[in-house]
């Protein structure tokens, strides 16, 4: 089985603060892997390095075998990502925003127009597709964020708390979209919501203080700790050497 994401000995310092310490993990192709950990565990830092937004202090991250720091454009062509709460240019509409991002990814003409319609429908923004984003709520921006990850049909989705700011119906709809996408794509998904992660992912990596504490199937973790919640609580409570 090929590997979509490979993280090797990733270490990241913010000045003197150690955010990631020699983190290594591999996400096989077409697997849905959840990245769990308390606030400040290093989840967002890991995803930002994978998306080329941060440089690792040491170590390497690969997307589909491409070194993200050495060939960022080639690596980024393989992913669709939501990192933190997505923000867009307020003076553009969703259609224009997706048009811009689609064109940057080499899409154009009828194919792009058709695809924009599809993803806007998928995230239920049809009524807002020609309204300037300056009028959008956080949840609507989150929907647009998901639309732009799916637009170019990438093989890998990197999602950082994609359900944040959504109303209950939005959370359910989001989960359904991601679950469906996960059947044919690799998903690396950071979240605090254990229920959400267990519904979408078959494996989870639990990190804290920038270190990998566990990386196993949800079934195996449930078997060992009785529940995913207990696994999370016990592992993240462990003293750090």
């Amino acid at each position: 089985m090929s590997e979509s994401i490979v993280i090797e000995n990733l270490t990241k310092y913010y000045n003197n603060f150690l955010a990631l310490k020699e983190l290594s993990l591999t996400v096989p192709a077409n697997e849905n892997v959840g990245l769990l950990g308390p606030n400040g565990a290093g989840k967002s830092t890991t995803l930002k390095i994978l998306c080329g937004l941060l440089r690792a202090s040491s170590g390497t991250a690969y997307i589909d075998g491409i070194d993200v720091s050495a060939k960022p454009e080639q690596a980024l062509a393989k992913i669709g990502a939501i990192v933190e709460t997505p923000e867009f240019y307020p003076f553009l509409t969703p259609e224009e925003t997706l048009g811009y991002l689609g064109r940057l990814r080499g899409m154009d003409g009828d194919r792009l127009k058709q695809r924009i319609k599809e993803v806007i429908k998928q995230v239920r923004l049809e009524d807002w597709s020609r309204v300037k984003i300056e009028k959008f709520s956080r949840g609507m921006k989150q929907r647009l964020g998901l639309a732009q990850t799916l637009l170019h049909d990438p093989p890998v989705l990197i999602l950082d708390e994609p359900g944040l700011g959504l109303d209950p119906r939005g959370v359910v709809e989001f989960r359904a979209i991601i679950e469906k996408a996960g059947k044919e794509k690799t998903i690396f998904f950071a979240s605090h919501q254990l229920t959400e992660v267990s519904q979408i992912c078959n494996q989870v990596a639990i990190i804290d203080h920038g270190r990998l504490l566990a990386y196993d199937s949800i079934t195996a973790l449930k078997k060992k700790y009785k529940s995913l919640e207990r696994a999370y609580l016990e592992l993240t409570e462990a003293p750090i050497d």
Binding site: L53, V83, T85, E87, Y89, F91, L92, Y100, Q148
Partner: protein, 264 residues
């Protein structure tokens, strides 16, 4: 898809941004007000329009010069805004080089400023034709210097936008740097008889002094009076060199810094 095609896409959407923002229209209005003020106040407060067309042309160059300062308001948030407003989390995860994004933003900003400058000079030309029936050939030089000055101001603004965390601080610092710090140092150097061709504010003066230097300009307005020091008009050639250096250095530094900057 080539990087050049991506650059065209970036320029298109960035230019759309400027067209949709109020600041373009505010600076346009200020440019028109400045030109109108010169056209109304000079004959009202003076003894009619100056006899010398060059003096009036120099006075009217205030409009395009003001438009040039608009570059600061267009470019202050060009880079800093992507980090401050977190739009970079979406934009920078696309397979496009950051250098392409910065170049695209720069060209779009420059196009917006150039549009205002062109409009300013159209008013200058129409006014001079209406009042004097002729336009001095130096107007072309003034126009070229104004375009170059806009490029230099834009590059300095891009540099501060790449360095600063916030758009507002980038805009304010650039304004202070160009309008206050550069102006003060420029005045001190001028009063002490030292060379000052390398100061951006001096370079900006050439947009008007190309019509005949400070003496001709002030003479046409009734003389310079008793000044404690001599005004030395800036050398056009050295000013062009200086502006080209500001333009290249500021732009290259902003490219280098943006490429290295991380989204924490």
């Amino acid at each position: 898809m080539t990087e050049f095609e991506r650059l065209r896409v970036v320029i298109g959407y960035e230019f759309l941004k400027h067209i949709r923002r109020k600041r373009l229209y505010i600076i346009l209005a200020l440019t028109l007000i400045a030109e109108l003020a010169v056209l109304i106040l000079v004959p009202v407060l003076g003894d009619g329009f100056p006899n010398n067309v060059m003096v009036m042309a120099a006075l009217l160059s205030i409009g395009p010069s003001l438009a040039t300062i608009g570059a600061i308001f267009f470019a202050g948030d060009a880079i800093a805004g992507e980090f401050e407003n977190k739009t970079g989390y979406i934009l920078f995860t696309n397979p496009v080089r950051r250098t392409t994004l910065v170049i695209g933003k720069y060209i779009a900003c420059y196009a917006a400023v150039a549009l205002l400058i062109i409009l300013g000079y159209v008013i200058v030309v129409i006014s001079l034709l209406a009042i004097y029936g002729s336009v001095p050939i130096e107007t072309g030089g003034s126009f070229g210097l104004c375009l170059l000055y806009a490029g230099a101001v834009l590059s300095v603004t891009f540099f501060f936008s790449a360095v600063m965390k916030g758009s507002m601080s980038a805009t304010v610092i650039t304004l202070v740097f160009i309008m206050v710090i550069s102006g003060i140092i420029d005045s001190v150097l001028m009063m002490t008889g030292q060379p000052h061709w390398f100061m951006l504010s001096t370079n900006g003066d050439t947009i008007a002094t190309v019509y005949g230097g400070y003496e001709a300009f002030m003479g046409g307005m009734g003389g310079m009076g008793d000044m404690p020091f001599e005004f030395e008009s800036p050398s056009i050639g050295l000013s062009v060199l200086s502006m080209a250096i500001y333009l290249a250095l500021g732009f290259l530094l902003s490219l280098w810094i943006t490429k290295r900057r991380q989204l924490t």
